[in-house]
Every structure is written in structure tokens, then in C-alpha cells.
Symmetry: C2
């Protein structure tokens, strides 16, 4: 594989291996992860089964509850509470997005997860800890995965000009905070941003998390930029379903110094960081 490619799959495998070794040396109960899945979205089911498989690979016990798409908020919260009280569960993951009827209540529901079981780092209190820079904060899985890719690719963020496209609570905002904490100068861009090309042209580090297929064109990118592409978009090429990122990969590859592929970039890291966060919470419980 080209040295320009940040091989998320390989790095995730390396991390999983490290975790597997650590976990095999534990002399108490195994770490436990509970996953809650609402509805029948095929992509969500696919992601969850992936997470279960990865848990098994490294020695984390996984628990799963599947609720019908039309379940009530109270029903969902009661499952969260069950896992909150379960001493074998170290982390609780609510698979997102929730079905339409619950979507607007997502944050309210997530906030029922106990702070010390918030494996996804998405509770309001944990996001506050990221703002404050508390050592106690759990870094949300995808943002942490992006930072880990930079770190393991020897990218020193300090003083670098970074742009984050997308300002979701799930990815854009926490990655901005983490890059800021790593001393990058971060610009938060979004759908209302007017001078995106000029901003991209200056960026040493580009993090794209907008979910729009190949939105970022190679000609806007600075030569030597590091590109972290969080987007996973399904498009049809010659009648065949293909996954692409938010960045026009083939041409951007020519200009970038480092770039994550889609698939095989950030995706596998999200799962690896979920496992890492589970172990981190386990260590607080044991």
C-alpha cells in the first residue's frame, strides 16, 4: 500500500491486538460492553454486528438489546437503566441514529447513560469535560479514532492549521475540541461557510465529516495536506453500489501527504476506539 495512505484497517488491527494482549492479562472479570439497537435499519445492524465481532476478538463480553422501531422513549430509557445497574457492563453504546420518532430526543436519551459507562463519550456532561479539558473525559470514538490515526502517522498537530468540515455533536464539534487541545489552530466549517475554497487551500490538516459524496475537490487542497475523511457515502458507479468519502479521493491522493481511504480509514478506528474506551471504563470500575 502507498506510504501516503493512512491504513485505518491496519492501525485498528494493531490497536485491537494491543487491547487483546492487555485484556488477556486481566485477572478479574472480562470487560463488558452493552449495545442497544433500535429499529431495523440494515446499516445499523451491520455496524452493531461488527462491533460484537470485534468485542469477541479482543476478549470483551458484549450484551445486546434490540428494540422495535416504534418502542417508546421510556422503554429505551429503562433498558439504559438496566445496563447502568449491571456490574458486568462497563460501557453502554446506544447505536445512532435513532428512528425518526425518537431522533429529536437522542441527546435526552443518551444523557441517561451513567457518566462512568458513557463509552461513546456523547453525554452532555462528557462533552462539557472535553471543553474544560478534564482528564476524566471519554473521547468520543470517531474523533478519538481520527486523533489516533494522526498520532500513529506521526503527524504533530501543534501549530498546524486544521479545518474541520461539519459541526455535528457526534464528530465535528468533539474533533474540533480535540485538535484544539493538541494545539492545532482549528477552523470549524459548515454549510453556511462562504469561503471554503480559500480555507481549504490553507489547511495542513483536513477533517471531513459532512456525509456528502466527494464534496471536497482535489483542486481546493493544499499540496502536502493531511486528509482524514470521516464520510461514508454510498453511491452508484456503473450501476454498482460503491462507498466513497467526503473527499474526491483519487485526485486528492496526488496532492496530499497523507490520506485515509474510504472504506478502510476512519471506519475501523471507530470500532477500535470503542473497544479502547470500554477497557478504559473497565479500569475505573475494577
Amino acid at each position: 500500500m502507498s506510504e501516503k495512505i493512512i491504513d485505518g484497517k491496519a492501525i485498528a488491527a494493531e490497536i485491537k491486538n494491543e487491547l487483546k494482549n492487555k485484556i488477556s492479562n486481566l485477572n478479574k472479570r472480562a470487560p463488558g460492553l452493552a449495545v442497544i439497537l433500535v429499529g431495523d435499519d440494515p446499516a445499523s445492524h451491520y455496524y452493531v454486528s461488527n462491533k460484537e465481532k470485534s468485542c469477541a476478538e479482543v476478549g470483551i463480553v458484549s450484551f445486546k438489546t434490540i428494540l422495535a422501531a416504534n418502542c417508546s422513549k421510556e422503554e429505551l430509557i429503562s433498558i439504559i437503566n438496566k445496563y447502568n445497574q449491571d456490574p458486568n457492563v462497563d460501557g453502554i453504546l446506544l447505536q445512532l441514529p435513532l428512528p425518526a420518532a425518537l431522533k429529536n430526543s437522542s441527546q435526552e436519551i443518551i444523557d441517561h447513560i451513567l457518566a462512568n459507562k458513557d463509552v461513546d463519550g456523547l453525554t452532555t456532561i462528557n462533552l462539557g469535560k472535553l471543553v474544560v479539558g478534564s482528564k476524566d473525559a471519554i473521547e468520543p470514538c470517531t474523533p478519538r479514532g481520527c486523533m489516533e490515526l494522526l498520532k500513529r502517522s506521526n503527524v504533530n498537530c501543534s501549530g498546524k492549521q486544521a479545518i474541520v468540515l461539519g459541526r455535528s455533536t457526534l464528530v465535528g464539534k468533539p474533533i474540533s475540541l480535540l485538535l484544539n487541545a493538541a494545539n492545532a489552530t482549528v477552523t470549524m466549517a459548515h454549510s453556511k461557510t462562504q469561503n471554503l475554497e480559500a480555507l481549504l487551500a490553507q489547511a495542513d490538516i483536513i477533517v471531513a465529516a459532512i456525509g456528502q459524496a466527494e464534496f471536497i475537490k482535489a483542486n481546493a487542497i493544499k499540496v502536502g495536506a493531511v486528509i482524514i475523511d470521516v464520510g461514508i457515502n454510498a453511491i452508484e458507479i456503473d450501476g454498482k453500489r460503491t462507498l466513497v468519502g467526503d473527499v474526491e479521493f483519487t485526485k486528492a491522493f496526488e496532492k496530499a501527504s497523507l490520506i485515509t481511504p474510504v472504506p478502510g480509514g476512519v471506519g475501523p478506528m471507530t470500532v477500535a476506539m470503542l473497544l479502547a474506551n470500554t477497557l478504559e471504563l473497565y479500569e475505573k470500575h475494577i
Copy 2:
């Protein structure tokens, strides 16, 4: 006064007048603000007496506790708890900075303030609410004051390029989140930022909160920029103590379309927003 000047003193007076009218129409108990002051720093005592006077002006009852500089963390927290339980207190303000011995515990101590009495908006949970964009969030006083100055000066932030210098939990980070929520494209700059001049040259809105006298030079500023200067720095000019901001005011004035003076810009707004936040919390309690 020049039309270029954002007259914080006049806008704060206008806001206080609005608050006074609202409060005079309340038919229950008056809103109450408790201020806790630790140590004998003259500036802190001055700020606190200013806040007390402003409370009296608009009809807010103020309570004050002054603790010795060498008070223990536990003593301070017990005072917070007393005010947490007091039904006449709607907001609790811990005057910052704390003395050296307590400074590293500031966030931990602040987090003892009940969410519904967090008038300064600096508890971890409230900062999380700012990230999430919760309607329930209290906007920290100085950042809210900056946003209010922009709003009352008819500056539409949407799509504008904004730069925030300084990344404190008190000012820099929350103002970045508020500008982002107002659809500005925000760059968070700080001491490790390398290309500050180029970034300043692009900025439509500059928020300076670094506490370094006249650090930002006029030649770096774009013609027509809006400048919000949060810094208040005491320097000596011809042997006389003078307050200046983080921006080289006289020259920057020539290039800016709007600029806050120091003093008389952001400073009075911090107090006005403290009063506004007290009333906002009062309305939740009544």
C-alpha cells in the same frame, strides 16, 4: 461618539433598563444573586462591588460572602451548598480567579453550583449544553455580552469569517461555540498558532481574549472588520496607569467598521449579562 464605536456602556445601560422594567413588574419575590469572593485581590473586590451596585440598580437582591485567601476548598464548597439550598438565591457567582492555592481546583469547585443556579454558565454540564446546543444552556456572561454587542450592532454573523484569540474555558471556548451556533465560520487561535497575521487578515469578526496589551496590531486587520476586544490590561503611559485592550485601538479604529473600546466595551456587558442570566434563572425557579 463615533458610529464605529460599539458603546458597551450605553448598550449595557439599555439592557439594565430593560431588566429594571421587567423586574419592577414581577409580583413575587425579587430575583436574588449570591456572589462569593475569596481573598483580597483589589480588582476582584472592585468587580464584585460593581456587580452589587448593578443588582441594586435593576432590583435584584444580592448576597455576598467573602472568604479569606487561605480558606479551604471545603469551606468554599460549604458556602456554595448554602446558597444552593437558599430559595431566595437564583444565581450563584464565584468570582474568578481564585487565589493560587485554590486555582487548580476552580472547575471542581464551580461544579458544585447547581445547574439551575449556574448564573455564570461555567459548570461542566452547562458547557456541555453549549456544545450540544441545548436551549436549556446558560450562556456565560462575557461570551453572551460579546454576542449581544454584535446583535445590537446589527452584525449578522452567518457565513462570516470569525477568529477568536484565546481558548480559555471562561471566554475563548464558549464564545467560539456561540459564534458557531450563530453560523459564523470560527477559527480558534491561541499561543501555538503560527500564521496569525494571515488569519487575522481574513477575519470579518475578531474576538480578542488573550490578556496581552495591544497585542493585535492594526496592520494585520482587514479593512471593515468588526472587533470585539475582551482584554483589559493595565499598562503605564507616561507614569500613569491606563487600561488598554488586546488590540492596538487607535490605529485599528481607522480600519475597523465597528470596534469596542477598552474600557467601556465588553466590560459593562459582562455585568449586564450577569443580571440578565439571574433573571433567566429566576424565571425557572418561580
